[in-house]
């Protein structure tokens, strides 16, 4: 019967192998180096997965770790265990990635529906909401006093006094007519929300 091996023992054995592989890699053995990196990649991926969620972040971190191993492989002393050397490098790169992610999160604002100008199916641009031609037709259809009030005060932007002189209406009558006209227009032009 095959004796059961605990994961911890396997990891230790792996790391002893990794130590030998790294020593050979330092001497220029490319096959040993290839095997080392192939074996180390899934291990550091597991470490990265504990702190990072996004698949891209995890893979980028694994690549950062492999690049760091490559850049400072001359600093590894084969007389010392490989585990602490690798784990420190991995922890630093993972921490860097987490820090960068937090930095970006604090500076990025997710684009939500309320940030969009056209968030409704119906456009909210006033030009399109109220068609110009239709507005003119509706104004022409208003009672005479209301039509004058709108044309003189709202469209030509005359003062109430000037509008009163031109129309021959009193200021009070213009005010009342203008108020009624707006109410009528609102009722006719603005669609009712369900």
């Amino acid at each position: 019967m095959q004796p059961e091996t605990s994961p911890r023992v396997t990891a230790k054995t792996d790391r002893r192998d990794w130590s030998r592989l790294m020593a050979s890699a330092q001497d220029g053995d490319r096959r040993a180096y290839s095997r080392l990196l192939e074996e180390v990649a899934p291990y550091v991926r597991r470490l990265a997965r504990r702190r990072l969620r996004s698949v891209e972040d995890i893979e980028d971190t694994v690549q950062d770790i492999l690049l760091t191993i490559h850049a400072i492989r001359h600093t590894y002393d084969p007389r010392r265990p490989f585990g602490p050397w690798l784990v420190t490098i991995a922890s630093r790169r993972i921490a860097d990635r987490v820090r960068r992610r937090v930095f970006l999160l604090n500076r990025e604002v997710p684009l939500k529906r309320e940030h969009e100008t056209l968030s409704l199916a119906r456009t909210n641009l006033s030009e399109e909401l109220v068609d110009g031609h239709r507005l003119r037709d509706v104004v022409e259809g208003l009672p005479r006093a209301q039509r004058w009030a709108i044309k003189l005060v709202k469209l030509r932007e005359l003062s109430l006094k000037e509008a009163a002189q031109e129309s021959g209406m009193s200021i009070a009558a213009l005010k009342v007519a203008g108020h009624r006209a707006l109410k009528t227009l609102r009722a006719m032009l603005v669609p009712h929300e369900d």
Partner: protein
């Protein structure tokens, strides 16, 4: 985008044999020896202080110079250790006892010289000379140290830069005290503590960038 498998292939293709780095204690020793040689050259060009014979009888002066030098040596050993991934970051604590002793001698000097600080405490001529000594002595040894520790950018860049700066400051200030007659309270305080603090801050701020650009 390069996949991890592709990256491994690229790294393996680039993997020529590398020369293993000597142990950190040996590398620290090499740097300290180089720093001693450079500082001696600076001393030879500037000349030692006239009252050195008298000062060597002064125990406070001796403790101050020795503790600054010890701080430099301990910080150098610490910096070379913490720059490696498989060494504990607690090595950074190594220079603390010597550093405290150094700072306490500066404080003691302040206390004894505090009575009646006159205009002689701030002599521009001396301070400019000292600035020159600091620049002459510390710049080359700092450049060598940052070059020797350039791999630290991947491991503990900030801590290595800060401890490295303390190493440079400790050795430079201990040399400075032998070269210059600078016992005035204010100046001693400025140079001893100020040099250490400024170099630590510069090292901390620029260290990671220096490391980055050198790799």
């Amino acid at each position: 985008m390069t996949t991890t498998r592709d990256l491994i292939r690229l790294l393996v293709a680039d993997a020529s044999a590398v020369r293993r780095q000597p142990p950190p204690m040996l590398r620290a020793g090499i740097w300290i020896a180089m720093a001693a040689v450079l500082l001696t050259i600076v001393a030879a060009t500037i000349g030692v202080r006239a009252d050195l014979g008298v000062k060597l009888q002064d125990s406070t002066f001796l403790i101050e110079v020795a503790s600054a030098g010890l701080t430099g040596i301990a910080a150098a050993i610490a910096a070379f250790h913490i720059s490696l991934p498989d060494r504990s970051g607690r090595w950074a604590l190594l220079p603390i006892p010597a550093l405290l002793l150094w700072l306490s001698t500066v404080g003691y000097g302040c206390l004894t010289n505090w009575v009646g600080p006159g205009p002689s405490d701030l002599v521009a001529g001396i301070s400019l000379q000292c600035l020159e000594t600091i620049a002459l002595g510390s710049t080359p040894i700092a450049v060598i140290l940052f070059f020797m520790l350039r791999h630290a950018r991947f491991v503990r860049p900030l801590a290595t830069a800060a401890v490295g700066a303390i190493a440079v400051a400790g050795l430079t200030v201990s040399a400075l005290r032998i070269f210059h007659e600078l016992d005035a309270t204010v100046m001693v305080l400025i140079w001893n503590v100020g040099a250490g603090a400024v170099m630590s801050v510069i090292g901390t701020l620029l260290g990671p960038r220096l490391f980055r650009s050198s790799m």
